[in-house]
């Protein structure tokens, strides 16, 4: 079913690589009217994130966050997942590419395979499991991991006895579905698409090359990814921290940082960006799994440059007792009898120390795939010398070939949130490129009419999930099933290994139909991640989705009561009882729709706001940019060159000109927001210039400010300047004394209370300016006093270059900060040198302070106006630090740029494109569905006491024209605070009504209904 007439451009996008970045792009695009072909080399999508155990700083289970997304991708009607597939060639031009895709033989019919796994049990051959990083084993017919999408098994032809030796065929006998197909052949399909997104992800440095570190030689040396699998509940040791040699619990564990990174002689010259933080996370999680572990991290520099990262490291040190030892380990030796490992390092005082550890984890870096050169050639794009896709800091997601975009670690090493951000950014770029073809290739799902169950007696189906061993190892599933069978109105009970697996979804639908069920309960994990999925499942079966309930027997039971099987089982039974009590009182709820105004208001006309505005305007939406100052540009006006050498002012001028010329963009300078009313899709804002605008989304790009230092004789000597002043002087061609000596001090006003965060940009600014000075006058001297040089990712090149051309780096400690005094026209800087173990006295002609960034002063007011929260440091807090990096919990409002956290220009541009992509998803809809889980207000009970009005975080109760409290249900997010505070019980949250909650309490306390405590 086509929405629009055809356009010369194609309304579809090919995405190569189904990791978290590719999936984000796929979902954003498919949700906004584009057909997506997701090409995945492996048998399942998921990429690297699925291998991780937990993610920091929240400690959320990585699989649990990504699994619902994978299932969403797998089920999305407008996303075709082509697994075991590789692109062979790309021809054509932006808007109309012809892509040949090679599909490797799977030897299993996807349409017949149910994913039951019977074949796997029968397969006689075991090989090392690459998903568990070779620690565990897998069969030759396999799925990559339990929650794989698609969950179709595949035969690994390299090892299959029948395919290699012509004998066996056991899987064929085991398969009741007749899904085995030994005759399968490679096929080639051709896809016609408007744009291509590359998200092939990363490879990991092969540390066996470094024999001196002992990987592959000493059993108790593992890579960080192997350790991640060791920590994982689904990993080889089921989440117990054991060392491989004897499966004993290690006590002293050492992490060695920068293995394969920052080493231009033996390995990769770049910084992998993520290892400092994942090592910190692993120490914390290891401590949580086993409090006897004593972790030590051996590192060169702690690169905790991201939002709230420093706080996390401080927590590791102070709350978990993690030891951070600044030292590069050059060799690991095994003590033959114990299997322990001896590490030799120099301590702060330069003394050599030998220390024995039970286990060593190598923090291996990231690198492009082995076939990166060929990959680039296939797509006709250029790479940088390290074979990452070549991009410019000013167009960070654009490859050298128009219409082909790049996201994630293929663009440069980065962490999950930055990858997700880039995922939304490339989606935004593709939407802008193909805007007129939006909706030309998508189809709509025809839903079965909902069955009217209003007058039926409840017939509840209960599915008790094993979650592999996550639940089943602790809770006796059979007992839970048996107990559920005894409960009133329960018509059907069964158990399932993974309720969330795609084949089980189909099973659930069938059961609902066969047994005429009108309520469904799944006893498994948290509703936070899995409820939408299961709701859709029962909707597909013709039931109103609010007739579903999730009984959380994992997070709230098996995980927190590990090892207490009997009690945990009792509790699981009670949780199911409560759920049944609630389910019996569930009513079908109506989903309402509201229209969408296809326009966006962007607060802030800096580079963030302008970038978002251009993307949205190109996508075909009207944009209002509201800038409080008299001209556009924001802080970028003070930036002259990027680290890589791009002319920023030229770029800024061009961007301003584009924004001014765009017919869809209205610029309001010297203007502030007076008041915004409304809700997602339907905002109305009054501006201080007396215009009233209607818009469907808001992007907050209010930026930040530069800290004006008070330290180190600032303002007392004109020889003390900031890094930004210096940049301006260099750019304006100021000639410095060719033998001048510059001393730079890093972290001025950053990484110290009350500003315990890294400003992220200052290290690069210092390196950039230092290189410029040395290139202008090789005879001048630059000495940078630093705490940790944080030139992460490919920026490391410039740190190396600075050292190579003679810039000196001297570390200082926060407890022993440099001292500055005036000496006539010059300055004297004293600092402790840890290499010499002596105090240095440096005569300086110039003292350059690397002043950090601060949230913009309007941040607080803006936060209050839109009821969006800020972190401790005053930056806006996104909805989820990993997976929703530009969203706010309030729908329709997005954030980007410095308003979110300190970041570099390329990252600001990326995030702004991402915000535009996310806003585009909303604005592309003609109407939006409103959740049925909202508070219902009974006006006749209400006494207008204003309790709700004053506490609602979303502004949904209001004082109506009659002077009494009324309720705007569209704004309501169903949080239930109003229901809790209302003294008259005038508010009841759908599906969380008092009668339901009381019934649940009664079920838990086994009271008669309605007599709590009776």
């Amino acid at each position: 079913m086509n929405d629009k007439i055809s356009s010369p451009k194609k309304g579809s996008v090919v995405i190569v690589g189904g990791g978290i970045g590719g999936m984000q792009a796929a979902l954003d695009l498919a949700d906004s009217g584009f057909k997506v072909h997701l090409i995945q080399k492996d048998p399942s999508i998921g990429g690297t994130m699925v291998m991780l155990d937990k993610t920091f700083p929240t400690g959320d289970c990585s699989m649990c966050m990504i699994s619902p997304k994978m299932v969403e991708v797998g089920r999305h009607i407008n996303i075709d997942v082509h697994s075991l597939a590789e692109v062979a060639s790309v021809e054509g031009q932006p808007g109309d590419f012809k892509i040949k895709v090679k599909l490797a033989p799977r030897y299993v019919y996807p349409e017949k395979c149910t994913g039951c796994g019977d074949c796997e049990i029968k397969c006689p051959k075991k090989i090392p499991n690459e998903f568990d990083q070779g620690i565990g084993k897998r069969k030759v017919i396999y799925s990559l991991f339990a929650q794989a999408v698609p969950n179709t098994r595949a035969i690994d032809a390299r090892h299959c006895l029948y395919l290699t030796k012509g004998t066996c065929r056991l899987c064929e006998k085991a398969c009741k579905a007749g899904a085995i197909n030994y005759e399968d052949k490679e096929r080639v399909i051709e896809i016609n698409a408007g744009a291509v997104i590359l998200s092939p992800g990363l490879d990991r440095y092969d540390a066996t090359v470094r024999g001196e570190l002992g990987l592959g030689r000493w059993k108790n040396v593992v890579t960080s990814l192997q350790f991640e699998r060791i920590l994982s509940a689904s990993g080889p040791f089921k989440g117990e921290v054991k060392r491989p040699s004897d499966e004993k619990h290690p006590r002293k564990v050492a992490w060695i940082q920068c293995v394969g990174s920052r080493d231009s002689h033996n390995a990769n010259p770049w910084c992998s960006s993520v290892c400092c933080m994942y090592a910190t996370k692993q120490t914390i999680i290891a401590k949580e799994h086993d409090k006897n572990i004593e972790p030590t991290i051996f590192y060169m520099e702690m690169r905790a440059f991201g939002k709230d990262f420093d706080k996390y490291v401080e927590r590791a040190k102070n709350e978990y007792g993690v030891r951070y030892q600044r030292a590069m380990i050059s060799a690991v030796r095994e003590e033959p009898e114990t299997g322990n490992l001896m590490l030799r390092y120099a301590d702060e005082a330069g003394k050599l120390i030998d220390e024995s550890f039970d286990m060593v984890v190598l923090s291996i870096g990231l690198e492009p795939h082995k076939d990166a050169a060929k990959f680039a050639k296939t797509f006709g794009i250029e790479t940088n010398p390290y074979l990452f896709a070549k991009t410019s800091p000013l167009c960070p997601v654009q490859t050298t070939r128009d219409g082909i975009f790049v996201t994630g670690t293929y663009q440069g090493p980065k962490d999950i949130p930055d990858t997700v951000m880039q995922g939304s950014a490339v989606a935004g770029e593709a939407m802008a490129l193909l805007s007129e073809a939006r909706g030309t290739e998508t189809v709509h799902k025809e839903l079965l009419p909902e069955r009217d169950v209003e007058n039926e007696k409840p017939r509840i189906g209960v599915f008790v999930c094993h979650c592999g061993t996550n639940i089943a190892a602790t809770v006796n599933i059979d007992e839970v099933v048996a107990a559920a069978k005894q409960l009133p109105d329960v018509a059907y009970v069964t158990n399932t290994i993974y309720a969330c697996a795609q084949d089980n979804q189909d099973m659930i639908k069938q059961v609902v139909k066969d047994n005429n069920l009108n309520r469904v309960i799944i006893a498994s994990c948290t509703p936070r991640t899995h409820e939408p999925l299961f709701q859709e499942t029962i909707r597909d079966a013709g039931l109103n989705k609010y007739l579903f309930d999730l009984a959380d027997i994992r997070e709230q039971c098996s995980w927190c009561h590990m090892g207490q099987k009997e009690e945990a089982t009792k509790k699981a039974v009670k949780i199911v009882k409560m759920s049944v009590a609630k389910s019996r009182l569930q009513k079908p709820l109506k989903t309402d729709y509201v229209g969408v105004t296809p326009a966006c208001m962007i607060i802030g006309g800096g580079i963030a706001g302008m970038t978002s505005s251009l993307s949205l305007a190109d996508q075909g939406f009207d944009v209002h940019v509201v800038e409080m100052e008299k001209e556009l540009g924001g802080l970028t006006r003070n930036l002259f060159r990027t680290l890589e050498g791009n002319d920023v002012q030229e770029f800024l001028k061009a961007t301003i000109a584009k924004v001014q010329a765009h017919k869809r963009i209205t610029i309001h300078t010297n203007t502030q927001v007076k008041k915004t009313e409304g809700f997602v899709g339907n905002f109305k804002t009054a501006l201080s210039n007396d215009t009233l605008i209607s818009h469907g989304a808001i992007i907050i790009a209010t930026g930040g400010t530069e800290y004006a230092p008070a330290e180190y004789l600032s303002g007392e000597s004109d020889k003390v300047i900031t890094q930004r002043d210096l940049e301006k002087r260099i750019a304006s061609g100021e000639k410095f004394n060719p033998r001048a000596r510059f001393v730079m001090i890093q972290c001025v006003g950053s990484r110290e209370e009350p500003n315990q965060y890294c400003s992220r940009v200052c290290c690069q600014d210092a390196v950039k300016n230092a290189i410029a000075i040395k290139e202008q006058n090789p005879g001048s001297q630059v000495i940078i006093l630093y705490r940790d040089i944080r030139t992460y990712g490919l920026r490391e090149d410039y740190y190396k270059k600075a050292r190579d051309i003679g810039v000196m780096f001297v570390r200082y400690d926060v407890d022993k900060k440099p001292q500055v005094e005036k000496d006539g026209d010059k300055l004297k800087v004293r600092t402790w040198d840890y290499m010499l173990n002596k105090e240095l006295m440096i005569d300086a002609d110039w003292l350059v302070l690397s002043a950090g960034l601060r949230p913009h002063p309007t941040t607080e007011g803006t936060g209050k106006m839109y009821k969006v929260t800020r972190n401790q440091d005053g930056y806006f807090l996104e909805a989820h630090v990993k997976l929703r990096p530009v969203d706010f919990p309030t729908e329709g409002i997005f954030v980007c740029g410095l308003a979110h956290a300190p970041k570099n220009l390329d990252e600001t541009i990326t995030q702004s494109l991402a915000a535009a992509g996310r806003a585009g998803v909303i604005l592309s809809h003609e109407r939006l569905a409103v959740s049925g889980i909202i508070a219902k207000h009974k006006k006749e009970l209400c006494m207008s006491c204003l309790g709700c009005f004053r506490v609602c975080p979303f502004d949904s109760p209001y004082i109506g024209e009659d002077g009494k409290v009324a309720h705007n249900e569209v704004k309501c997010m169903g949080c239930g605070i109003c229901a809790a505070i209302c003294p008259a019980k005038a508010f009841q949250v759908n599906n969380f009504r008092d009668d339901q909650i009381l019934a649940m309490i009664d079920a838990a306390s086994e009271c008669e209904s309605g007599v709590v405590g009776g």
């Binding site: 006494m943 006491c945 204003l946 309790g947 209302c982 003294p983 008259a984 019980k985 405590g1013």
Partner: protein, 223 residues
């Protein structure tokens, strides 16, 4: 609005523990807004008491109910028949409600579950503050709309005492000195000269109970 706070639970328990059938009876007007005695609070209190009773192993039947207002007899008339089946009414209404119900109910005791406090404003959700003492002889026109009777710890009529301390009262730094507030307000209103006039001793007879009054118009209508 009349404000009140629920009594300590132990005190309430001691009141009810020797009875067999208790009704926790809420009032849905003033005390509901201050989260002390509305139907919802009565329900919660009844539940707490049931739990306490089962913990102590004492058999008491404890139920709850609520009506719109306890200060007008018509509101509780419809439930009077049911109420009379109890041997204790634990009222969560203000003291007015407890009195009026006691007068109307016959020989069943009515006990208070809340301490009635003052007439209050609600500057923010959940915060109540006394601004008027109901003295029966209002002088707010002389004091810039800020009442020294309710808001000065000594109810002084002619300026602050020696205990005023940088804008606060010596009783507590959290209490603002009413006379400093009055001064600031009068200055803003450009009426500082009014403060030079002496307020004569107040006629406190109008503040003494028992008080009552009749509205003339209604008297006429009744005739």
């Amino acid at each position: 609005m009349i404000t009140g706070e629920q009594k300590p639970f132990e005190e309430i328990w001691n009141m009810v523990k020797d009875f067999k059938k208790v009704l926790v009876f809420g009032c849905n007007t003033c005390v509901a807004i201050c989260h002390a005695g509305g139907g919802k609070e009565a329900e919660i209190l009844a539940s707490l008491l049931r739990m306490k009773a089962s913990e102590e192993g004492i058999a008491i039947e404890i139920n709850h109910n609520a009506v719109e207002r306890h200060c007008e007899p018509e509101f509780f008339q419809p439930v009077m028949e049911d109420i009379r089946t109890y041997d204790l009414i634990l009222s969560t209404a203000c003291g007015v409600g407890v009195n009026l119900l006691s007068e109307n109910i016959g020989d069943i005791p009515v006990f208070p579950a809340i301490n009635t406090e003052f007439f209050g404003a609600v500057p923010r959700a959940g915060e109540f503050t006394e601004l008027c003492a109901g003295c029966g002889n209002c002088i707010l026109h002389l004091t810039g709309g800020i009442c020294p009777i309710a808001r000065c710890s000594k109810s002084l009529l002619n300026g602050p005492c020696g205990g005023t301390n940088n804008g606060s009262c010596e009783v507590s730094p959290d209490i603002k000195c009413a006379w400093v507030l009055i001064y600031d307000r009068m200055k803003k209103l450009n009426k500082l000269d009014l403060m030079k006039e002496i307020n004569e001793a107040k006629d406190w007879s109008k503040a003494q109970g028992p008080r009552n009054f009749k509205v003339k118009v209604l008297e006429e209508i009744k005739k």
